[in-house]
Structures are given as C-alpha cells and as structure tokens.
C-alpha cells in the first residue's frame, strides 16, 4: 500500500510540473488558436534570469522571482510588438511558423548570453523532504503543486469573468468579428503572450531548482505538448488535470509495468493512453467539442 501511495503522490507532484508548463501552451492556444513552439525558450528566459539574480547578484529568491516575472512579462509584450503584430489577420499557420523561427532565434541569443553549461541554483528549497505518513515528498515539487493549483483557479476565473479574458476568448474564436466588435487584437495578443511568458517563466524557475538550468531544459516545453493535447488544447482545467493524469500514469506504469516488461514503459505508457483517449475523444478530455456537419 505504501508502494502504491508513494507512486501516486510522486506522480501527482511531478504531474504538477508538467501541468505548469502545459498551461503556457493552452493560454496562447485559447486566446489565439496558435501553438507556440517557443514555449521552451520562454521557460529558459525565466530560469536564466532568476538564476543570474540569485547566483551572481545574490538577490533574495522571492525578489529575484518577482523580477524574473517582470522580465518575462515585458518579453511577452516585446514579442507581440516585434514579431506577432504583423501577423494580425494572417492565417494561424503563419503565426505557428513564426513561433518556430522565434524559438531558434531565442535559443541562439540565450546561448550567446548564458553559454551551454549547466547553471545550478544555490539551495533554495530545503532538501529535507516533507513526510506525510509513510510518504516522502520533496519540497520543490510540493510548491509546484500548490502554484499550479493556484493558477488553475486564477486563470479559470480570469477567462470566465474578466473582460480581458472574455475578449481573449472572442479573439480566438474569430479575429475579424472581434476586431469589428472594437476589441483591440493587438492588446489581446500582447496580454496573452505576456501571461504565457510569465507562466512559462515560473515553470522554468521551478524546473531550474529541480535539475539545474541548461538549454536542454527547453525540451521539456515540447515534451509536455501531449499533456496539453490530452487535456484539450483550449481547456485550462484540461491542462492541469492532464498534467496530473500523465504524471500519475507514468509513475504507476513505472512501478508496476516496468518490472514485468523489462523497463522503459514509464516513458511510453502516457503516449499509448494518449492515443487511446484521442481515439474516443479527438478534442481531448476537456477540449471544446467543435463538430461541423456537411
């Protein structure tokens, strides 16, 4: 029983990290129908900025985190102004291609500034685990669980009730109609990217504290894309629950199937389940069901 519980709890907290990262994809998709391939690089910007402040300038961690969030915020706005503005009313696929280009360009710039070696954070989260009954959980994961749940609440409310959130959804649904209703698509895009950059930045900082920061961190950005797809690309609860679901699935299949099948099932199982679920619900677990009949 302890074995099972430990696996489930570990799966949940690791899934929370996936959820945080997947949230960035969902936010941008939800408000602009675009899949952002530069999500991984946005992670890196947050992680590197925070690392520089903490490790090089010895800024207290919370302050460093706040500054990094501001940097991400302005980066998001800058990306909109420099890259995306010319794509307003252009096909979505063009924007997606632009994010691919953005990803390469950003990776290059980041490597010039921070090089490719692994940067390690000084110990910020105490390494002693939190013991709940028979189960041990590391603190940094526990914090990410709290943060991702908090974000779930904040963003669900934001999209449901705030004017900005509603305007974002309207823009995603039909840009031209939104423009003609007097919604400033420029502002919406800027806000979207700013928020997504901030979410990615926070994710990057947490990941950096788990495993150090180097350019390969950005790959995690892409590996969680299945999480977002599983949950439904336009659903915030979907991203969070999708993340937790994949985390638990990985952990359980690692614990129970790996010994039977000789290892490596942990990495594959989520994808098998993903395919099965998408066969039954092609729009993801919580995605918006759009069916056009002809």
């Amino acid at each position: 029983m302890t074995f099972f519980l430990q696996l489930v709890v570990t799966g949940l907290v690791v899934g929370a990290v996936y959820a945080m990262v997947a949230l960035g994809f969902v936010l941008i998709y939800k408000s602009s129908d675009v899949i952002n391939f530069a999500q991984g690089e946005l992670l890196l910007v947050g992680a590197y900025t925070c690392w520089t402040l903490v490790a090089v300038y010895h800024v207290p961690f919370l302050l460093a985190m706040a500054v990094s969030i501001c940097v991400s915020l302005f980066l998001g706005i800058a990306i909109e102004r420099m890259v995306l503005r010319s794509f307003i009313n252009e096909p979505v696929i063009s924007v997606i291609m632009a994010t691919l280009g953005l990803s390469s360009a950003m990776r290059g710039i980041l490597q010039v500034i921070w090089s490719t070696d692994t940067k390690t954070f000084p110990e910020i989260f105490p390494s002693a685990p939190v013991i709940i009954g028979p189960i041990a959980v590391s603190r940094v994961y526990l914090y990410s669980l709290f943060i991702s749940l908090a974000m779930l609440v904040i963003f669900s409310l934001f999209f449901k009730y705030s004017n900005m959130g509603i305007a974002m959804r309207a823009t995603a649904d039909d840009q031209q109609a939104a423009l003609s209703m007097g919604i400033s698509v420029k502002v919406i895009f800027a806000a979207t990217w700013a928020i997504a950059a901030v979410v990615a930045g926070i994710g990057g900082i947490l990941l950096g504290n788990i495993n150090g920061v180097n350019p390969s961190l950005s790959h995690i950005g892409l590996t969680v894309l299945p999480v977002a797809i599983l949950g439904g690309l336009d659903s915030i609860p979907g991203a969070i629950l999708g993340g937790l679901f994949i985390g638990v699935l990985e952990s359980l299949s690692g614990g129970y199937l790996d010994p039977l099948l000789g290892g490596g099932v942990k990495e594959v199982a989520p994808f098998v389940v993903l395919v099965l679920i998408l066969m039954i619900r092609p729009y993801g677990l919580f995605g918006q069901e759009i069916i056009e009949r002809v």
Partner: protein, 392 residues
C-alpha cells in the same frame, strides 16, 4: 549610383592589396602548419559537457604551439560544432577531410562516432572520440578508432570488482540503472556477463530517461529487489535526480556511477544527497595537484581561463588532444593518417602526468587503458579512494 560604384571599386582594390600583402608576409621560410580536425558539440543537446571538452582541445593546441609545436611545426585546429546531430557530424567530417585535408580528427558522441566508422576506415583518419563505448574497440572493424581511457564496459567491470572485494556479503546484490540510448545500453550486457563470472548478483535493471524529473518508481523497484548497490550509467542531470530521490525515499543503497555521472555538475545538482556517492574518474579533476596539471593551467591561462573555471571535461579534451598529437609527433616528417596510426600504436604506458591512466596502444589493441580511479564524495568534495585500478 556612379559614386557607389566608385567606392565599391576602391574597397575591393584595397582588400586585394591587403590580402596580397598578408600572403607575402607569411610564406617566408615558415613551415606549413599541421592540421587537426575537431567535431564538437558546443551548442547541441550535450553542449554543457561538450563545450568544455572542445575548450580543452583548443587549450592544448594553443599550449603546444607556444611550446615549439609538433616537430617544429605549428598545429592548426580546424573545429566544427555539429550540435549533437549525426547528419551535421557527417557533413563536418566531409568538410574536414575533403576541403581541409586534416589527417586525424577528435570527435565526440557515441552515435556520430559509430556513424563515422566506415568513412574513417576508408579515408584512414585516426579518430579519438569523447565516447568510451566498448563497440569501438574491435580493431578488425574499427582500425582507426582509438580510445584514451577505460571503456564504459571496463568501468562497469571495475565497479563490480570493487563491490565484490569490498562487500560484506559473499554474493553482493547489485542493480543497474541506465538510459535507453546507445550510450546508456553500451556497458549493460558486458556488466551482466562479468557479474555472473565473479559472483555478483544483478537483481534488477531499471531505465531512467536522461531528462527524467523523477526516478521514484525505478528506485522503489530496486529496493523491492533487495539491491545493496546500484551502478548508474547516465549523465549528470539524471544522476542528481536519482541520488536526490534515493535520499528522499531513505534508501539504504550504495550508489556508484560511470564517468559521465561523476563530475562537478552532478555534485552541485545533488547537493547533500551526493554524500558517499562513488564515481569512476578516468580523468583528473582540475583541483588536483598531479604533475600534468601545471601545463594544463598554463594552457588555459593562454585562453584567458582561470583554474577555478575548469572542469574535468576540460581535462578530458586536453588529454585527448595530447595523445592524438603524440601520434603526430611519432609519425615523423610525413604526417598522414596511416603514419599517425602507426605512431599511436607505439605508445607504451604513455603517462600524461597523471591526468589519466597510462595509455598503451598496439596494432592489435586500441584500448588505451582499462584502469580508472574511484572517487567518493566526502564533505561535498570528490576525493580519490583508490589509485588507478583494473578489474583483473
């Protein structure tokens, strides 16, 4: 328009004059430099360790040029960043061999080194790689590959032998943790065969991905299997994940790891959890005062690098370049791939001032050494617990 053309003409003629003048200056009585090729990963997936390796090579070449070069000729390093992508490595190889006409190459990854084998054999290009995969050691099939340190299989054998000799139990129980790549799988079969031979029981094998954020399920299974020791074949990041998770779960298992798990990065990432961890160290750490380190510090000073900025991967690059260029030296006046190979094959207990184990090559074996040192993390520092040891 006319003005622009004028300017263009003036600029071009200036450039021509300058290049002519430069050409005249350098051709006077200076012997042609010898070339050395490099295919490195500086910006790719393994750039974190590939870059210091490349810098080690660059530093050695700089240092040897400051100290008289090779048989009086300067060495020109032509290196290309292949970003850990095999097609780009092959492209870099073609460029180095056909355009630059380098007689020998220093390479990097397991996959790309193996992809290069048919080319280097055909073109007769001696090749030293960062990869220590046992596969590269069959001389009949890999006549131009040379290995400067113990292969992954030999490293695993040394660890198993050490466990056998130091365990309280008659048949110690060992688990193997590796990643599902060519690099990760490389020593597994050899390790299992050797374990059986010497009476060590392999009770479990677990796969942990190189980028894994968590290894709880694998570690719990190792615990269930009753292992007292676990041997890790990963890179620094996954190693730190494993050590941290093991500490969190309170496992009573002695962890040991191969060379890519035992460096400054895994130590920093794992923090307290690394205490007591034992690693295979085929190349000296820069903080050690071994005889060869004086030259290393001089060489990196030429690159503007301070001793405290160096890592063990810098030493690996330095040592690889040193051994390859020793082959050049022994090739004599006519530096061709074949002669370098013959030169390298005369190396007998070649010592690098203790930067690595003494290296010997012969026509029938390109296994430079099967010896390594074991280090243990004590008070947050890597400290040697053995001298150069083998598994015999």
């Amino acid at each position: 328009m006319f003005h622009r053309l004028c300017w263009l003409a003036v600029l071009t003629s200036l450039l021509l004059v300058i290049s002519l003048a430069a050409g005249c200056g350098s051709s006077e009585n200076v012997r042609e430099p010898v070339k050395l090729g490099g295919i490195f990963d500086i910006t790719g997936a393994t750039g974190d360790v590939g870059k210091p390796y490349a810098e080690g090579v660059q530093a050695y070449v700089k240092w040897i040029n400051e100290n008289g070069g090779i048989n009086g000729r300067t060495v020109q390093l032509v290196d290309i960043d292949y970003a850990y992508k095999i097609p780009q490595a092959v492209e870099a190889y073609k460029k180095l061999v056909t355009q630059e006409k380098v007689p020998a190459i220093l390479g990097w990854g397991t996959g790309d080194t193996e992809a290069m084998v048919p080319f280097i054999t055909k073109d007769r290009i001696p090749y030293i790689s960062g990869s220590l995969s046992e596969n590269l050691l069959t001389v009949e099939n890999h006549p131009y590959n040379f290995m400067v340190a113990a292969s992954y299989s030999d490293q695993a054998r040394v660890l198993l032998r050490w466990i056998k000799d130091n365990a309280a139990e008659e048949n110690p129980k060992v688990a193997l943790i590796y990643n599902d790549t060519g690099f990760g799988r490389s020593p597994i079969t050899d390790a299992e065969a050797f374990a059986e031979k010497i009476g060590v029981e392999i009770v479990d094998k677990e796969i942990v991905d190189l980028k894994a954020l968590d290894a709880t399920s694998q570690l719990l299974n190792i615990q269930k299997a009753g292992a007292d020791y676990a041997i890790i074949q990963e890179t620094s990041n996954a190693t730190a994940t494993i050590l941290k998770d093991a500490k969190r779960l309170g496992l009573d298992i002695q962890f040991l790891g191969l060379n890519w798990t035992a460096d400054e990065i895994s130590l920093k990432l794992a923090g307290e959890a690394a205490e007591g961890y034992i690693g295979v160290v085929p190349f000296a750490f820069p903080f050690e005062d071994v005889p060869g380190m004086k030259d290393v510090r001089e060489g990196f000073a030429l690159m503007g690098k301070k001793p405290e900025e160096l890592t063990q991967k810098h030493i690996q690059g330095w040592l690889s370049a040193m051994i390859m260029l020793e082959g050049y030296k022994r090739a004599g006046e006519n530096i061709t791939g074949e002669n370098i190979k013959k030169g390298l094959e005369t190396l007998n207990e070649f010592t690098s001032g203790d930067l690595g184990a003494p290296v010997s090559f012969s026509a029938s074996s390109h296994r430079g050494s099967s010896k390594v040192k074991l280090y243990q993390v004590k008070n947050g520092q890597w400290q040697p617990i053995t001298d150069w040891i083998g598994y015999q």
